[in-house]
Symmetry: C3
Subunit: 215 residues, 3 copies
């Protein structure tokens, strides 16, 4: 991996980690929860998905090798706790949703690349690693909070991620020399898909729902 | 392992994988769920238990080495989505329950054998690997769906599996040369136990319930 | 590790394992649950946290190397099932809570030491390993039972554990020769924190709750 890619990858992870931790603060806003539990929920959300990925890839858990992710997550949770009033403001919330879209896109493609470099179940399994890394932490957070997980939301969430990761895997298979360009484009594709879904309130069409168009 | 065992083992996994994915379609039938989430739930149900087993055994995750399980699971979910009307028919549902019994029996004994060959916590831990592989994916599926897991069902589900795996471990300890025969018999034993429970609606007796026969 | 430490460590694990299994019996007391599911829930509670720890540390799962933990957990669940009437008695219950405090303290510091010896994400990650080992099994148990997990309890539970593990990590960093003394003191510190919280019904202060003191 080139040094440019490494730096890009690190910047992305910092932003994404903070966005994920803040998502836990927002998700917890209707519960009676203390600052300590909030930090734990933030950590689970921000590093949980990548931890599952690393366990399946059988590589060292990423945050054990670079604790900065842990500090970023804790700092973001503390920030969210103190400035909680701000987080609930409408424009902040919309802004936040786009940051979150950015984070899931970056984490997903980053994980796809990591799994691809390790030759993990090529050419399909890296897509799952992308998905798990992007949504795994949030799903565990929702299970801990006894909330319905995003698998049952009508919004488009996991679908743009899966499409972006799949497209990236196609490029990695056919034209590996375009890896960096493809990473960038697929990240933008996921962000676009997610942002359009938020902005125009696009959901899954009826024919794609179980029992609506079945024989 | 002989070639015959390997082929048997693969056929079994194909059938079981499909049955598990279909179980996710049935479990989701009362929820608003789209085809994409259905595929994810199907994958979790069909390969989740084996994934937990492989993580604990510290061997490569099985589906990263042979993606056919992934394709089978996705195909079965798509099939279940399209022919959902059929799945809800009474005779199909009963038929399905027996296929599911077949799947859990095969997966459980297969996992017991895998753990035994690796010398994992002999002679008892392979029983847990059998149980986890057979029911782990379904339990995570139920947790994601906020349904009570099978641990709180009154039907006999995990008990026949544990008995079958335990019996197989006894044979592997005392007469390892009978491994293939014992695998077959213990699979049949689990299927029989589960099928009888379904057919005669046999549940756990009252004295085995917490608080009913305590001092 | 000296032989004295090893013996201490083993005695501690035996007691803690039994206490954790009994906690599952108590947690299940309002559910319709049979003896077999109780044993499974007991196993998840008592060896689940340590299993997560070992997966992240990438070392063999501890109970696969020493099955005694499994037997202790099963025996404790059977004991709890038979003498369930006793467990519900008020003084027994209070006694039990202190045993549980003892168990989480021991497991947490033991796990912190294990992670430290492996050089896992020093100096901070061992604190998480302590926390996960102490509360991970109980959290999964509560999720399986569809109960709110301890992260949303108002009692002090995870906070004394984190403080004790953090203090131990400070000593291991600055004065590693005092490891044994520090282990003992930090175990006592966690027990004291937890016991005082139970005895005086101390909870998280209001300013530490999300939304109560935010800007």
């Amino acid at each position: 991996m080139s040094s440019g890619q490494e730096i890009f990858s690190e910047v992305v992870t910092v932003l994404g980690t903070a966005a994920f931790a803040l998502s836990a603060v927002l998700a917890a806003s209707k519960r009676r929860v203390d600052i300590f539990s909030l930090i734990i929920l933030g950590l689970i959300t921000s590093i949980g998905g990548g931890t599952m990925r690393d366990l399946m890839l059988d590589v060292p858990v990423f945050w054990s090798q670079d604790l900065s992710y842990v500090w970023i997550s804790i700092s973001a949770s503390l920030f969210g706790f103190v400035f909680f009033g701000l987080l609930k403001k409408r424009w902040i919330n919309e802004f936040y949703l786009h940051i979150d879209a950015f984070a899931i896109a970056l984490f997903a493609i980053q994980a796809t690349n990591k799994a691809w470099e390790l030759g993990f179940g090529l050419p399909v399994a890296p897509i799952f690693m992308g998905l798990i890394t992007a949504v795994g932490g949030g799903i565990v957070r929702d299970m801990l909070m006894q909330r319905p997980t995003l698998l049952f939301e009508s919004e488009l969430y996991a679908i743009p991620i899966a499409l972006g990761c799949a497209m990236h895997c196609v490029v990695l298979s056919l034209a590996p020399q375009w890896s960096v360009l493809s990473s960038t484009l697929c990240i933008l594709l996921i962000i676009a898909g997610r942002s359009l879904s938020i902005y125009f309130n696009i959901g899954v069409p009826n024919w794609a729902l179980l029992g609506k168009s079945s024989l």
